[in-house]
C-alpha cells in the first residue's frame, strides 16, 4: 500500500492514531517543519528592519512568501496580502477597521447561519458598536442555500456580506459568488472565509469576485501562528490601520503619526518571518501535490466514509447526501449517544475526531442539534483509517448499552 503523501508527515508515521481532525488543524509535512527550522538556523533576523545582509535576506524571504501567497490566490498584487495570525484575526481586522468605519445605523450585515464563530462574533461586535443590523441567511436541512432564498435575503441595505467558501461542519460550499454579486449591487463588500477551502481547492480571489478573503496557515500544512487576509487594494488603502505599533508607520510625532503603505500598514510589530517561510513551503508542497490529485484522494476517502456511515443504523450524517457535498468533512450524530461519548469511544479505538459544536453553535441550533461528532480528512489519510473509524462507530451504541 503505497500512499503518495503519508510518508511526508512525521507525526503520522510515528503514531498509529487515525487522525481525522484536519478541519481543526492539519498535520505538517517534513518540508514545512524543516523550512521553519532552517529559517532559524540560517536566515533569522527581524524582517523589514535591518540593512545588513542577514536582515535583507530575512526580508526578501518574507516578501517572497507574500508573493507566493499572492500567486496562490491569483491576487493582483502582493500589497494586497496581509499576514496575520489566523483567519480569526484576518476577519477581525476587516471588522474593526473596515466595519467600524464604514457601517452605520440602518445598514445591514448579512452572513449565513453556517458560519464559524470567527465569522459571526466580529460582526456582532460591529453591529453592537455601529447600530448596523446583523442578519442571517438560513440553509436547508441538507446545508444548501437555494439561489432564490439567498437573493430574497438581500435588501438594499446590506453593506457587508460574509460567508465561508466551505462550511467547517457540513463541508458544503457557501453561496459566496452569488452573495458577492448581490452585495455589490448595493455598493457593499463581500468577505469570503476560506479557512476550510484553501487547504483543499484552488482559491482564486478574482474568479470569486469577493473583496476580502481570509485563511489560516495551520489548516493547510503550514505552521501555527500565520494566517492571511487578502483585500482589494483600493479598500485596504482606504481603511484605517488596525493594530498600531512598530513598522506600520511612515513617521511618528508625539500626538500623531502617518502610516506606511500597504501591506505594512496592517502588520504592526515584529512579523512572523519563520511562519511565513513555513506557509510558503506549505504552498509549494500543495502545488507539487496538486489540488486535482488531493481532491481525488479526498473524494474517494469521503465516499468510503460517507457510505459507510450511511449504512450504520442510528447514525445520521449532517448536511448533504453525496460525498461531493462534503469536501472531506463529515459531522454526524449517533442516536442516543452524546457526541462527547462518541468521540471518547473513537479515541479508545485510536481514532481522533472532534466533538462539540465546532465553533458553529448557531448552525447546530438551526439544525436542531446541540452538538455533533466530526470526522475530517486530508490528503494524508488512508482507507484503513476510514475503516477503523467506521468499525468503531458501528460499535458505539452497543458499548453504550443501546444494543
Amino acid at each position: 500500500m503505497s500512499h503518495p503523501f503519508r510518508a511526508d508527515f512525521p507525526l503520522l508515521v510515528h503514531t498509529d492514531i487515525a487522525f481525522l481532525d484536519s478541519a481543526a488543524t492539519s498535520q505538517r509535512p517534513e518540508c514545512v517543519i524543516q523550512a521553519e527550522k532552517e529559517y532559524y538556523e540560517r536566515y533569522n533576523a527581524n524582517p523589514l528592519r535591518g540593512f545588513y545582509d542577514l536582515a535583507q535576506e530575512a526580508t526578501a524571504r518574507y516578501e517572497g512568501a507574500r508573493e507566493k501567497v499572492r500567486a496562490f490566490l491569483n491576487a493582483d498584487s502582493a500589497e494586497e496580502i496581509i499576514f496575520t495570525r489566523n483567519t480569526t484575526e484576518s476577519i477581525n481586522l476587516v471588522a474593526w477597521s473596515w466595519g467600524l468605519s464604514n457601517l452605520k445605523k440602518g445598514d445591514e450585515i448579512l452572513i449565513t447561519i453556517s458560519e464559524h464563530h470567527s465569522n459571526i462574533l466580529p460582526w456582532q461586535m460591529v453591529a453592537q458598536r455601529t447600530g448596523a443590523v446583523l442578519r442571517y441567511i438560513f440553509c436547508r436541512e441538507d446545508g444548501s442555500y437555494p439561489k432564490e432564498e439567498v437573493e430574497a435575503a438581500f435588501t438594499g441595505k446590506v453593506k457587508l456580506a460574509a460567508a465561508a467558501l466551505v462550511s467547517n461542519v457540513l463541508g458544503q460550499e457557501g453561496p459566496v459568488r452569488q452573495m458577492a454579486k448581490l452585495v455589490h449591487l448595493n455598493g457593499g463588500v463581500m468577505l469570503a472565509d476560506a479557512a476550510q477551502a484553501a487547504p483543499h481547492m484552488a482559491v482564486d480571489v478574482k474568479a470569486l469576485g469577493v473583496d476580502f478573503l481570509a485563511f489560516s496557515g495551520h489548516k493547510m500544512l503550514a505552521p501555527m501562528g500565520i494566517g492571511v487576509l487578502w483585500g482589494r487594494k483600493d479598500l485596504l488603502d482606504s481603511m484605517p490601520p488596525f493594530l498600531r505599533g512598530g513598522e506600520m508607520i511612515d513617521s511618528v510625532r508625539q500626538q500623531d503619526a502617518t502610516f506606511a503603505e500597504l501591506p505594512h500598514k496592517f502588520e504592526a510589530g515584529t512579523v512572523n518571518g519563520a511562519g511565513a517561510e513555513g506557509l510558503a513551503a506549505a504552498i509549494d508542497y500543495l502545488s507539487r501535490a496538486g489540488f486535482d490529485r488531493i481532491g481525488d484522494i479526498e473524494l474517494s476517502l469521503t465516499r468510503r466514509a460517507l457510505s459507510g456511515l450511511q449504512a450504520i443504523p442510528h447514525v445520521r450524517v449532517l448536511g448533504g447526501t453525496t460525498a461531493e457535498e462534503h469536501h472531506g468533512i463529515l459531522a454526524f450524530l449517533v442516536d442516543g449517544v452524546h457526541p462527547h461519548d462518541v468521540s471518547a469511544i473513537l479515541n479508545e479505538d485510536g481514532v481522533a475526531v472532534r466533538a462539540g459544536h465546532h465553533c458553529a453553535q448557531p448552525l447546530h441550533t438551526h439544525l436542531g442539534a446541540r452538538s455533533s461528532t466530526r470526522a475530517s480528512l486530508y490528503l494524508y489519510n488512508t482507507e484503513e483509517e476510514i475503516d477503523r473509524f467506521l468499525e468503531s462507530v458501528s460499535s458505539i451504541r452497543r458499548k453504550m448499552g443501546l444494543g
Partner: protein
Amino acid sequence: MANTFYNEILIDHNQNPYHKHPLPGANMTLEGVNPSCGDDIVLQLRVEDGVIQEGSFEGDGCAISQASADIMLDMIIGKPVEEAQRLSALFLKMIRGGCSPEEIEELEEAGALSDISHMPARVKCAVLGWHTMEEMLKGKKQPATTES
C-alpha cells in the same frame, strides 16, 4: 473491546437516570454549563432545615455528565447540606487523583468515575453536577460554569 471507560454503572445511570425530571417543589435552582463541550444541566433541590429533601436535574450532556449528576443526587438526597458539601469535596479530590482507596470506597457509585483523573478532557463533564450544587449552595444565581 473490554478496555472502555464506559463501565456498567455509568451506562446504567446514563440510560436510566432516576433523578432526571422536573421538581415542582424545588426551592433552589441553578443552571450549570460546561462551555467547552456544551453540557448544560439545570439542578433543582428542595432544601429544608439544612437537609436536602429532594433533588433532580434536567438538561443535556454526555453520558459522564449525566451519570455523574444522577449518581450525585442518589448520594446527597436525604443528607444534610454539610454532608453533601463534604462528599462534593471528596469527589473533586478523587477527580484530581488525590483519593485513597478508602476514600473512593466512601464515594460509593461515584467511585465508578475515578478513572476520570486520567482523562483531563472529561473532568469538567464529571464535575458539572457537583460544581453546580456547590455554587448553588453558596447562593449563586448566575449559571455556574466549569471553566476555571
